[in-house]
C-alpha cells in the first residue's frame, strides 16, 4: 500500500463532489483502490462514457494492467454516478451502480469472447451480477469493493485469458456465409425472398488490404448486374413495412412480380442460395417475417427451389413489355447507372451530402464532449459558488459579532476606568476588585485574615498611643477611662488573635515564620 498524493486526493474530491451520489463511499473505495494499484501503473482520469442507450456521461475511469499468472491484461473500469448501489428505476443499458469493466486489447492482440467477456471487451461476471442484486442504498457490504473485483478478475482471467493473438490459426474452411449475413446493416426482411425467388447474389468483392475510405468496398463498387440480382423480383418479395408505406412502391413491385422474368434467373438463384436454406438462423427469421405468400406456398417453393410467378395477379402489359425490353439491354444500362449513383454517393464527392458526414460526426463528438465537460464545470462552479456564498455569510455573521463585542468592550473600558473598586466583565456585570485575587488555600486565607486583624489591632493601639503615622495620641483626661477600657479590650483580642495565628501556622508547618 502506498499513499495517494494530496494533489490526487483533491482532484478526486473535486470530481466526486458535484456528480456522484454516494460521495463518501466512492471516495473511500477509489482511494483504497488507488493505494494498491497506483504503484502498479493504474491511472485515474475522467472521460465521457457513452452507455448502450447512447447517453454520454462524464465518469471516473480507472485504467491499467492487471497482472495474471500468464500475462498482463489491460483493463478499463468505469465508475457510474450512482456507484456502488444499483437503482432498479434506472433504465436498462445505462451505467447503473455496478462498475463497468472492459478489457482493452493491446497491439497485436484481440479480444477472445467467452463466458465472461463479449466481443467489445465488456466483462460479465457473477460477481458483478451479485453486486447488482445485493448492493442497494443503505446496505453496507464489504464484499463488493473495487479491490475485491480486481482479485476476482485476476483469478478468472488466470483460468481463461480474454486476450489472444490476432494471428488466427488455419482451421477448417467454414462454408461461405450468405451475402445477407456478411452485411449486418441490411434489414432482415429480404431474407425469405432471397431464399426462394431472389436472383443469384453477386460475389463479394475482396477487401482492399489498406482501405483508406471508411465506406465498405462493396458499397463503392457498382451494384450487381440485374441479371444476377434481378431487383424486380427482389423488391416484389421484399415485405419491409417501410416499403409498403412508401407511396405505392409496393404496388409497383407487385406488378413487377406479376411480370416475373425469365425463370432461368430464379433457377440460378435457388442454386446459389442453397446454403442459406439450411441455416437455422435463417429459419428463425422466417417465422418473424411477413411474407406475401402463405406458409404452404413457401414450403412448396422451398421444396422445388424454383420460384414460380404469381399466376393469380393481374398482368400489366406495360410492365411486361418494359421488363422484356430491359431484359434485353438493361444490364449495361443499369450497370452504368449504378456506377453513376455510386459516384454521386461517394463521400469524397463534394456534391454528395455524405461529403460532410465525417465533419459532422467529428463536430458532433466535439460538441458533445464540450457540452459534457461544460456541464461538469458549470455544476462544479455552482457548487463552489454556493459553498463560497455560505462561507461569506458565515464570516459576515462572525464579523458582526466581533463588532458587537468590541463595542461592548469599549463600554466596559469606560466603566472600568471610572469604577475604582469594581471590575466590569461587561457593561451590565461586575465583580468587586477585592475578590479578584484570592489566596491559594482556605487555611492560608484564614491565616492572612488573622494576620491582617492583628495588624489592624496594633494600628488601633498605636493610634490610641499617638504612634500611628503622624497622628497625635487620643488619650485625654476626659476619655482616660474609655481609653484604658479600649486598650484592654484590644490587647485581649490581640492576644487571642496571636494564639489563633500560632495554631494555624503550626498546623501549616509555618512555626518559624509566624511564632
Amino acid at each position: 500500500m502506498s499513499r495517494v498524493t494530496k494533489k490526487v486526493e483533491k482532484w478526486l474530491v473535486s470530481v466526486i463532489q458535484p456528480q456522484y451520489v454516494y460521495k463518501n463511499v466512492v471516495y473511500s473505495h477509489v482511494y483504497y483502490f488507488l493505494t494498491k494499484y497506483l504503484p502498479q501503473g493504474f491511472k485515474i482520469r475522467t472521460a465521457v462514457y457513452t452507455s448502450d442507450l447512447g447517453v454520454p456521461q462524464l465518469l471516473i475511469n480507472l485504467n491499467g494492467s492487471l497482472s495474471t499468472q500468464t500475462q498482463l491484461i489491460q483493463l478499463s473500469i468505469w465508475i457510474p454516478h450512482n456507484y456502488p448501489y444499483a437503482d432498479d428505476t434506472h433504465p436498462h443499458g445505462d451505467a447503473n451502480g455496478v462498475p463497468l469493466v472492459y478489457v482493452v486489447p493491446t497491439a497485436g492482440n484481440t479480444i477472445r469472447p467467452g463466458n465472461n467477456i463479449d466481443a467489445q471487451g465488456k466483462v460479465y461476471h457473477p460477481y458483478l451480477a451479485q453486486w447488482h442484486s445485493k448492493m442497494y442504498a443503505g446496505v453496507t457490504n464489504n464484499e463488493f469493493l473495487l479491490i475485491n473485483l480486481m482479485n476476482v478478475l485476476g483469478s478468472t482471467f488466470s483460468q481463461f485469458s480474454p486476450i489472444g493473438s490476432s494471428i488466427t490459426s488455419q482451421g477448417p474452411q467454414l462454408p461461405p456465409k450468405p451475402q445477407m449475413y456478411r452485411d449486418s446493416s441490411l434489414s432482415l426482411t429480404p431474407l425469405p425472398q432471397r431464399e426462394f425467388t431472389g436472383p443469384a447474389l453477386p460475389e463479394k468483392p475482396s477487401l482492399s488490404p489498406t482501405p483508406v475510405d471508411s465506406t465498405p468496398e462493396r458499397y463503392r463498387a457498382p451494384p450487381p448486374l440485374p441479371t444476377q440480382m434481378n431487383y424486380n423480383s427482389h423488391r416484389v418479395s421484399s415485405v419491409e413495412p417501410q416499403y409498403s408505406e412508401s407511396n405505392g412502391d409496393y404496388l409497383r413491385s407487385e406488378k413487377a412480380n406479376s411480370a416475373s422474368p425469365d425463370p432461368n434467373h430464379a433457377r440460378t438463384y435457388s442454386h446459389q442460395t442453397s446454403i442459406p436454406q439450411e441455416s437455422s438462423i435463417y429459419k428463425e427469421q422466417l417465422d418473424h417475417v411477413q411474407l406475401p405468400y402463405s406458409k404452404d406456398e413457401l414450403q412448396r417453393k422451398k421444396a422445388t427451389s424454383v420460384p414460380s410467378p404469381r399466376k393469380q395477379s393481374v398482368e400489366d402489359l406495360m410492365d411486361k413489355v418494359t421488363l422484356q425490353d430491359n431484359s434485353v439491354h438493361n444490364t449495361d444500362q443499369l450497370e452504368r447507372l449504378a456506377i453513376q449513383i455510386n459516384a454521386f454517393l461517394d463521400p469524397n464527392n463534394e456534391e454528395s451530402v455524405d461529403h460532410l458526414i465525417p465533419q459532422i460526426n467529428e463536430y458532433t463528438n466535439r460538441v458533445m464532449a464540450l457540452q459534457s465537460q461544460l456541464e461538469h464545470h458549470s455544476k462544479q462552479a455552482h457548487a463552489n459558488l454556493e459553498m463560497l456564498d455560505s462561507h461569506v455569510k458565515y464570516l459576515e455573521g462572525r464579523i458582526g459579532d466581533m463588532k458587537d463585542f468590541n463595542e461592548e468592550l469599549e463600554k466596559t473600558e469606560k466603566l472600568n476606568t471610572t469604577g475604582s473598586d469594581l471590575v466590569f466583565i461587561n457593561s451590565s456585570r461586575s465583580m468587586p476588585l477585592d475578590e479578584l485575587v484570592t489566596l491559594d488555600l482556605i487555611l492560608l486565607h484564614q491565616l492572612y485574615d488573622v494576620c491582617s486583624d492583628i495588624k489592624a489591632h496594633k494600628d488601633a493601639l498605636s493610634l490610641v498611643g499617638g504612634n500611628f503615622k503622624s497622628q497625635g495620641e487620643l488619650i485625654t483626661d476626659s476619655n482616660l477611662d474609655s481609653c484604658v477600657k479600649a486598650i484592654r479590650s484590644l490587647s485581649r483580642d490581640l492576644f487571642w488573635l496571636e494564639v489563633t495565628r500560632g495554631e494555624i501556622a503550626k498546623s501549616m508547618g509555618l512555626d518559624d515564620q509566624y511564632n
Binding site: 413491385s253 439491354h329 453513376q340 459532422i360 458532433t364 456541464e375 489592624a456 493610634l463 497622628q471 474609655s482
Partner: protein, 182 residues
C-alpha cells in the same frame, strides 16, 4: 447520439427504376444512364435519399441545439464566475475588516483585563483603603470628643484590617502566589 453513416447504394434502393424510367425506350435509358446530372437528380428524388438528408439535417439541428446549450452554459458559467469573483473580493474585504477588529479587540481586552493594569488598579484600591483609614483618624482627632471612642476604634480597626488584607494580597500577587480570576 449514434454516428452518422454514409449512405450506400443498398440502403438507397434505387432499383427497380420508376415505371416512368424503366418504360423509356432503350436509347433514352442509355442517355439517362450516361448523364451524371440526370442520375443525380434521380437519386435526390428518392425517398431514402431524402430521409438520409433529413437525418443529416436533424443531426445538424441537434448540434445547433447543443451549441446553443453550450452558449447558455458559457454565459451561465461567466455569470457564476463573476459572482464568485465578487464573493472573493468580499472575502478579501472581510479578512481586512477582521484584522482591524482583531487588533482593536486585543487592545480593548488588554486595557480592560491586562494583569498589569488590574494590578495597578488593585494597588490604587489598597492605597485608597489606607487613605480612608488615615482620614478617619484625622477626622476623629478634630471631632473626637463628640464620638464614642470604642465605636471609632472598631471602625478604624476594620478599615485597617481591610487595607492590610489588600496589601498582603498585592504582595503575594507580586510574587504570583495567588489564584482567583487570574
Amino acid at each position: 447520439m449514434s454516428t452518422l453513416q454514409p449512405l450506400n447504394i443498398n440502403q438507397l434502393q434505387p432499383f427497380p427504376l420508376l415505371k416512368e424510367l424503366s418504360a423509356l425506350p432503350s436509347h433514352l435509358l442509355n442517355q439517362f444512364a450516361a448523364l451524371y446530372e440526370l442520375t443525380k437528380g434521380y437519386v435526390v428524388s428518392l425517398d431514402t435519399y431524402g430521409s438520409h438528408q433529413q437525418d443529416i439535417v436533424n443531426r445538424i439541428n441537434e448540434n445547433v441545439d447543443l451549441l446553443n446549450r453550450i452558449l447558455e452554459l458559457i454565459s451561465d458559467y461567466n455569470a457564476c464566475s463573476q459572482q464568485i469573483s465578487r464573493l472573493a473580493q468580499r472575502l478579501e474585504l472581510l479578512y481586512r475588516q477582521f484584522l482591524e477588529l482583531e487588533t482593536a479587540q486585543y487592545q480593548l481586552l488588554s486595557s480592560n483585563y491586562n494583569t498589569n493594569v488590574l494590578k495597578s488598579k488593585f494597588e490604587r484600591f489598597a492605597r485608597g483603603s489606607d487613605a480612608t483609614s488615615s482620614s478617619m483618624a484625622k477626622s476623629y482627632a478634630t471631632t473626637g470628643a463628640e464620638r464614642d471612642l470604642l465605636q471609632f476604634l472598631r471602625e478604624f480597626k476594620d478599615s485597617r484590617k481591610e487595607y492590610h488584607m489588600q496589601r498582603e494580597k498585592l504582595n503575594r500577587w507580586e510574587e504570583e502566589r495567588v489564584s482567583g480570576l487570574f
